[in-house]
Symmetry: C2
Subunit: 263 residues, 2 copies
């Protein structure tokens, strides 16, 4: 019996908007900052699971902000291969300032049903001229995104299948916890084994066998779209997970809600 079935729906531990939750990992926001965030997230839309929100080649018109649900950024090759290059969680911006570019070089799809805010370039510009604190927070957001992308490069280049998968699970758990959507080593986990394969550069078959190894070693439980990390510390060790690249240590409030390897 999982927590999710007990509460019967959204697996959410705090009710504040995920964006604010995410940016506050960097700096405390003022009432006005929060109001400004609320203002630009009024124009929203829903995307069905497995549907593209943005396609490679599109001309970018908005900055997208994930309000709820999971998404993925992916690139495809002419021979049909596909690589998921990032996972979007609630509170994530999909490329601040994309509209500077002529064409998208990748696609973005929904993993679960997703609620996204569509922010115009004008709204973004207004934000960055009027709200320096938020602007700083957006820069932090982009720097962290870049750091995550580098860590994925390292993950694909140097870690074994076992380590890669373990690392990805820990990263997603820690990121979810930072926005109040995970706790006690449990979280929603809507990625299929196929998605995991596309994200780790493995085949689905090998992902399946490797997950069984992780289960067999007593590190995780994963079923019915719920992840339970049985021993976070050991899983971090086994996957050589070092949380520094998430840069959650900015103000004194670092890991404020919970220490990283406890709870």
């Amino acid at each position: 019996m999982t927590l999710r079935t007990l509460v019967g729906g959204e697996f959410q531990f705090n009710s504040e908007p995920a964006v604010a939750s995410k940016l506050e990992a960097f700096t405390r926001l003022s009432v006005d900052d929060r109001a400004a965030l609320a203002r630009i997230t009024h124009n929203t839309r829903y995307v069905d699971p497995r549907r593209d929100l943005v396609s490679e080649g599109d001309r970018p018109r908005h900055v997208h902000l994930v309000m709820d649900g999971w998404g993925a950024r992916y690139k495809s090759l002419p021979d049909g291969k596909r690589q998921i290059v990032s996972i979007f969680l609630p509170g994530d911006f999909c490329d601040v300032n994309v509209y500077i570019l002529r064409h998208m070089d990748h696609s973005i799809c929904a993993i679960t049903r997703m609620k996204v805010a569509m922010i115009t370039p004008e709204e973004m510009n207004a934000l960055t001229t009027e709200r320096p604190r938020l602007t700083q927070a957006l820069w932090w957001h982009e720097l962290v995104n870049a750091a995550v992308q580098r860590e994925w490069t390292l993950n694909l280049g140097q870690r074994t299948a076992y380590e890669r998968l373990g690392h990805l699970l820990v990263e997603l758990y820690v990121r979810l916890r930072a926005i109040g959507r995970a706790n006690h080593n449990r979280c929603d986990f809507p990625l299929t084994q196929n998605d995991l394969a596309d994200a780790t550069g493995l085949t689905a078959v090998h992902v399946n066998r490797t997950l069984q190894e992780l289960r067999g070693d007593g590190l995780i439980e994963l079923e019915r779209r719920q992840l339970h990390i049985l021993d976070l510390e050991r899983l971090m060790g086994a996957s050589m997970f070092n949380p520094n690249y998430l840069h959650l240590d900015h103000e004194e409030q670092a890991f404020g809600r919970e220490r990283l390897t406890s709870g």
Copy 2:
């Protein structure tokens, strides 16, 4: 006999500073913009080959800008494995705005002897408040960096050794050409086979054999730190190289100097 030995030194086709060259792939700069760039690049320093310029864990104090030479950003794992996650060429900034972060999550080293400008946060701030065009260009620079990082993720996740190496060679050639440091399918190429291994997630032995395949297929010549791409179009095809992610198509001047697959 290579061009380099003929000119006896720097393999450079134009004399304007690489930064300006690079940013002008995005937008034409005014005289004042160029002056502002020149002003912030006065404080320079030299780094010897194979020396670290920045180390993981450091507190960032400056924005670094590569004036000349090649560098690499890399991450290491506790088991000793190492992944090069980016290559820096002349004109590249190493993380606009890094100083927002507490600690570096990676290291940066010189590949060749490198000349770098050290820019203070104050200088960067002045630039972004006084020179909107340059600020826009810096955003473009960062968006392109992010796109390159995603392409590397794709490269490591989905391409074979042969494709991976081919792709990397083409990328570096195209990037060099965009700053006027390559032409006629030739360029300086100071990376060792060890470096290539660290960048592609392969072993040096396998890089060696794969380069021999590329040579055997009549695609490249590579010796004495000089790369000659014998058939760019075929190499691009063989490595599934699509230049869209470099976003060199901004203004009408796209690929102004030379069409991408000719010359």
